[in-house]
Symmetry: C3
Subunit: 456 residues, 3 copies
């Protein structure tokens, strides 16, 4: 298997094997022991998982900053709700579909409920006295089952976070939550099983290190279909073809959100090395960190320069989305061995965002925060870039992009349409005018400030 | 000893012993070495301690978002002040009362000043050439003295943070700080010594893994007595029994604060495993992470569903407090070996918050941010739940809850009353009307926004 | 070599040597193996580097909170731009000037482009089967090349962040970015090579553990020269000598920023131990964490008490700057072996800020956020304090302070002057009045709030 996420695990196991061999040769004391490797790998999952978890706060702040104040409390609610729901659904059935019992080259794992700690781990924890055999049995597995679950869970939540920004300011709360249920329980796990679960795309050699396609484009396709089926916000597009800017209410929060995403992305990409228990893994992980940072930085700089050239002003929201575009682009291949290539990949990611935002607007697809440009467009580019700068084949990369794009789009469209014709997905015109905060959330985000204030 | 926090340390030491045994058997090279275990344990304290430290920012943002704009700068000041004061007092005398020289089954440790690095560690650091014996002497202790102090210190600060939110918008600044001095120097350390110091409640078998009772209920009792003695905010309760909502000024900040708390809670609960230097500890810590996340998620979902059923709208502040209720509830027993039980514990924690908030309001106890519901009520539930789902006895758990509740309430009430009759604890009616920011803090939080603005 | 940053690396290598010796003696199994030490050291660089990276968000929020709303989007933009640009320039040439080929006792390293992963690491990563020799070759280097680059890079960004706050609200965007290019590519690396690169100040025995002088004073000098050459904001100083307060628009964001800085500072100082792979390093790192926290806490408490005594009110911005002053002061010597001395160093740092802020204002040097007081003045104090409480010589410390101060000031002044006479550094009076957000950034930070709002 030569696709990134699994390859690395294989590498880690190979390293363990190498140690075993070495130990026989009597040089063991210079190496990482099996149990130390277990601790390193497990702790890396936990630390990196926590960083990715915090990206939920990043999305919440980014979106809070880019919606209008009358819809801000609602977007806060959606963000904490979706993070919660995604985790629960991934626990209930998602993880099993994605990882458990995926046939080699297959299309999905098993439908089974819940996912609990490994029996050997519990036996070790519950033993009155742990024997060396019990320790070895656990240590040989490479990492704790629960730490892996935790790390994978936060990725599902990220995919769901991408959707909420695009469809903000006019979607009903509960239908949105139901969509997140299906996305995190079924749609995300099925397509992710094709690659990270060892399914058919993995067998073809499709490579997506940390999820430019599996996480970011998946979120992006779900957002795109949602935006189309939902329609644009009232007043966004004039009948004369004009496009009206509906500026976000709180730019510092959007900036904070972007910084939090950048911060968390070291966990997203660095943790996707999937192992820390050897010099090889530690060195490879370090390269991933550096590439991640340089790609994001290049995304910002390129977006700023283009904004200056095109618009004669540097729009801060383009700089922020440039960072995200750079980060998304490098996510499929942050293990590039020349850092300069990472800058190129990220810089192009930033440029694509600058060009994609007005194009999507001209297509009258109303993406409140620019998530389709930053996550879907840059995600496609980053996945292709693995075929250019990395070890992947560009044809295989393209096949994976199309296959996952078609599956996620069709599946999402079906869910959005069913919701639309049953309980409805869009708030009434009056509620949209009034703002979702008063209509759905029962409170205002900033009751003392601004034009929407009750108390002024 | 079968209470959580100490048991785990015992487990870690047992694991070290197991290694020693194994080494004799010539299989040492597969195990974590004593010095590596020291590094793992120490680094886990540092990393998790930093996460808990950041919870101070979480409380600051949560409270900043839930007070009115005229009191926002003051709540910011109180939060950075209390974190600072709590750390200094814990250094000056608190840690020694809590941990140093607590008689087995006793009631408190020693009154002695300061707490400095261990002599063996300093000898190792200062040696021109470290000998294997010097290294072994340090490594055998299991973890660095300073890392443990750091990790315990941030827990005191958390208890103090809980108080500030409840008594906001009408308490004087310096009396509040004096209360924090006593709380962190004496009240918190004394009751914590009963359990984590190895005192009488520990001897009885009372179990509180990371502090549902020791940290959260303690903060909650101190807040409750403060709220009663201080009285409600002007205009909160009408003479006709009516309750007036005084909505917070900045919901995105409250949301951010909740996400930061959730993020930090992985350090709070995960770090309370107290060791990382073995496969057993790494596996147990991973289970704690997963349970912590699922409990919080269940708290959010249950709170949202109840809010929809009861109020027909999903109040975002209930969802946020649902997360906190879930987190507090799981804190006494995040080592549950079936993740589903963690969801039940957290979900009930979220439900209790939804029901407790209006009840406390009907009792005319004015809790500005809902901290009594989220920290005290959910903390009691979580501590009892250890007797239901975990290994504890529900009777012993109840004894611990009552003993600590009585001690903290009485001690806090005495301090609040002394402050009230001497320097006074409540600002004047004019200052309350004007807002604490202008009255006490000398500046406004948002001078350009809203109705309180000088510059409009 | 007896200067802090290098000494620690020497200590780490000494520890490795000690292990090698021990192994010969047949006791190897109790020690950290060479490869485990490599993983510990590398992971410590990554984790601490990520914490320091997040300080960029801290500066962004601190500055966003302390400028007026009409300049807030621009300061957000500057902060994400400077972090990006600093990282790219440090990659392009800065790191090589600072670290590569600095002659012992010399004045700078090499002018060479780019910095890529180590050849041995790539060989290991790319090997079909890793041999024990390949692993050993990498493990013997102590840490991954890329992890070290990442950790050093985030320090440059911090120096650049300090400048942006001081010169806010009147500097043009692109000239500021050009200054950051020169600062991070040349000025910072040259002076840092004198100490951390092993240059002439290191040879003299100048000691600066994590950069009170090298990072914070360097940023401070660059900010000071910028503020003088740029001039004060319109309306800040009356012709009659009066000083007008221009209060920041969002105090909770400034508070959040300070907490984020505090959080990140554990990475800044703790990571500057530069190694984690031994009990010695883990114990030393723990002491650094505790001292860092106590110094900051003392800075807050001293600043609050002084504010109460002098102004009869506790200004929250003084408390925040007290924390930063305490943190900056301890940064040169956070390895003090008596925690009480750390409190004294930090407390004096906090006091200096309280006194320096009005003095700098009387000199009509317009420092929007107080960065000169908190970073330059407290940085000088902290560097001298190493000669008082630590192992350094106060004369040598003073020589280093002056040498770096003169170099950075002169170099910065030259750059600022060239920018001033060529493309200009200051916006027009009309643009300053209108606000930089509309003039340069093309959008408003808070379009729905406050007096600057378009939509009111």
């Amino acid at each position: 298997m030569n696709f990134a996420r699994m390859k690395k695990r294989t590498a880690a196991i190979a390293a363990l094997a190498a140690i075993a061999v070495t130990m026989t040769a009597g040089q063991a004391s210079a190496e990482v022991t099996t149990e130390s490797a277990f601790v390193f790998n497990t702790f890396a999952f936990l630390v990196h998982g926590v960083l990715v978890m915090f990206m939920a706060a990043g999305f919440a702040m980014l979106e809070s900053g880019l919606v209008r104040s009358k819809n801000t409390a609602t977007i806060c609610l959606k963000n904490i709700a979706l993070y919660s729901v995604a985790g629960i659904m991934f626990y209930l059935i998602g993880y099993n579909i994605m990882y458990v019992g995926v046939p080699e080259g297959g299309w999905m794992g098993t439908f089974s409920l819940f996912y609990n700690p490994g029996a050997d781990e519990l036996a070790l924890i519950n033993a009155d006295e742990a024997t060396a055999e019990m320790v070895a049995k656990v240590a040989d597995t490479g990492y704790s089952v629960a730490s892996d679950w935790f790390f994978q869970m936060v990725f599902v939540a990220t995919a769901a976070s991408i959707v909420s920004g695009t469809v903000a300011e006019r979607i009903k709360f509960w239908p949105f939550i139901i969509f997140v249920v299906v996305l995190s329980a079924i749609i995300y796990p099925v397509q992710a099983s094709w690659v990270w679960g060892g399914g058919w795309l993995a067998a073809m050699g499709f490579s997506d290190f940390a999820g430019s396609t599996l996480v970011h484009s998946t979120g992006g396709w779900a957002a795109l279909t949602g935006a189309i089926i939902l329609g644009a916000r009232k007043g966004k597009y004039g009948s004369d073809g004009s496009i009206r800017a509906l500026p976000g209410a709180n730019i510092p929060l959007a900036t904070l959100g972007t910084f939090i995403l950048w911060f968390g992305w070291f966990g997203f990409n660095g943790g996707s090395q999937l192992a820390l228990g050897s010099a090889l893994d530690a060195a490879a992980m370090s390269i991933v960190y550096v590439n991640t940072n340089l790609a994001a930085a290049a995304g910002v700089v390129v977006a700023m320069i283009l904004a200056q050239l095109i618009y004669k002003k540097v729009d801060v929201s383009l700089a922020l989305n440039g960072a995200i575009g750079g980060l998304v682009a490098i996510t499929a291949g942050p293990d590039l061995q020349n850092h300069f290539f990472a800058m190129i990949v990220g810089g192009i990611g930033g440029a694509l965002v600058v060009f994609a935002v007005p194009i999507i607007d001209k297509m009258k697809i109303d993406d409140v925060v620019g998530a389709i440009s930053a996550h879907l467009v840059a995600g496609i580019w980053g996945t292709l870039a693995v075929g250019i700068f990395g070890s992947g084949s560009i044809v295989t990369q393209a096949i994976g992009i199309v296959a996952i794009g078609v599956f996620v789009s069709v599946a999402s469209a079906i869910v959005w349409m069913i919701l639309k014709v049953t309980i409805g997905i869009r708030v009434s015109e009056e509620d949209e005018e009034l703002g979702l905060d008063r209509a759905e959330c029962g409170m205002e985000a900033y009751p003392e400030f601004g034009k929407g204030s009750q108390t002024l």
